[in-house]
Symmetry: C2
Subunit: 202 residues, 2 copies
DNA sequence: CTTGGAAGTTAGATGCTCTAACATATGTAA
DNA sequence: TTACATATGTTAGAGCATCTAACTTCCAAG
């Protein structure tokens, strides 16, 4: 959510891209107020439409939130690919970059990051789950390459899990100010490098 | 939230322990439905009182949620102490037990666990923050003892942070079914022991 | 006892979600 | 071009949630 979103003034009866605008408004408001203070009405005010308009695009508030999370995940996935590209496949730099990107994203969009792994009563949203599997697949593949294994075997799965624990833990700790302040001198990258040294020792 | 909570049938006009009942109802409902589907009204129905009653005990819905989280944290802190007691101070068993307790608690009360580190717009609830500091203090102290350091110095802070990353990461991954299933054979304890081996190498 | 305050109640103001019915724009086919 | 079907907006309103005000019940201190 780098792009700031200002209240939209429409000229025509139709919005043009209301669905997109609502998704962005949803993301922005959840970041600002948290999921439990987010309201469809607020998003409507931001987008400059009536409170009934969203229901032409989403079945419910829940579905609108899920759409916001999915959009955020897609953006993040693309960005992760871009961050990884400069680094040689199989290099430690690439592993560290992957972790650092994760931590950095969590700091930039903590609301979306949390929701991505949230409860979602009853319905485990297909799209979110699939995308999670995809990311984890990427992690395993990167670990495989780093370890020089020919396939994703038990060793790779084991190390990938450990790595992912560390990356996730750093992400969450970084989002909580009272814990983020507990990180002794050193950047996230420094810690990720040290951890990958031991976790992925070959 | 081991104790199941059934709808209360009152005999007298006054409830007796409405505040406690509401706190338990809040915890139960948040576990069941998630923070965004929790309503004070539901909690009132569970406790068998009118929807205005809670406002004699809590200023707002938010405050009621915070009270639920604080209560859960207090219970968890006591339980953690009990889990640690049998283990010799300074032993690896004690470190592993601490981590395992954390992961186990996250699995039992994921709703409370998440909220404990959640956003809390505007107000970072004093009580929650203090308790977080207390837990982190305990972690540092245990790491200090394990490493045999005379005081909480830079080395201790560094290792404690790494350990806490791992424990937090395992906790969160364990709560998400799609990731929990990615843990290769081995119990959380096994992984915690391996991680503490390397993270706390002396 | 009496009585003041704590802890309930009902009633209602305000706001949110979501549906129904209606209005307006757009694109395709005649 | 005209006309219609459809997509995408609107207003109105039902139903439920939060929270306050004013009233009631009960306990406990004097």
């Amino acid at each position: 959510m780098a792009q700031e979103q200002i209240k939209e003034a429409r000229k025509s009866y139709h919005h043009g891209d209301l669905k997109g605008a609502l998704i962005r408004a949803t993301q922005q408001l959840i970041e600002e107020k948290g999921i439990d203070h987010f309201s469809v009405s607020d998003a409507c005010r931001l987008a400059g439409v009536s409170t009934a308009a969203p229901y032409k695009h989403f079945k419910s508030k829940d579905e609108m939130v899920v759409a916001g999370v999915c959009d955020a995940m897609a953006r993040h996935a693309a960005e992760l690919q871009a961050d990884l590209a400069p680094h040689l496949k199989g290099s430690q730099d690439r592993i560290v970059a992957m972790g650092a990107n994760y931590v950095d994203y969590a700091l930039r969009e903590p609301g979306m990051f949390r929701l991505r792994f949230a409860h979602f009563e009853g319905e485990p949203p297909e799209a979110i789950q699939m995308s999670g599997e995809a990311i984890y697949g990427l992690v395993q593949e990167e670990v495989r390459a780093y370890l020089g294994e020919p396939e994703i075997n038990e060793r790779v799965r084991d190390r990938a899990y450990l790595l992912w624990c560390v990356v996730h833990g750093m992400s969450y700790l970084s989002m909580v100010p009272e814990f983020a302040s507990k990180r002794p001198l050193g950047s996230p990258e420094d810690y990720l490098r040290r951890m990958s040294d031991v976790v992925l020792a070959r």
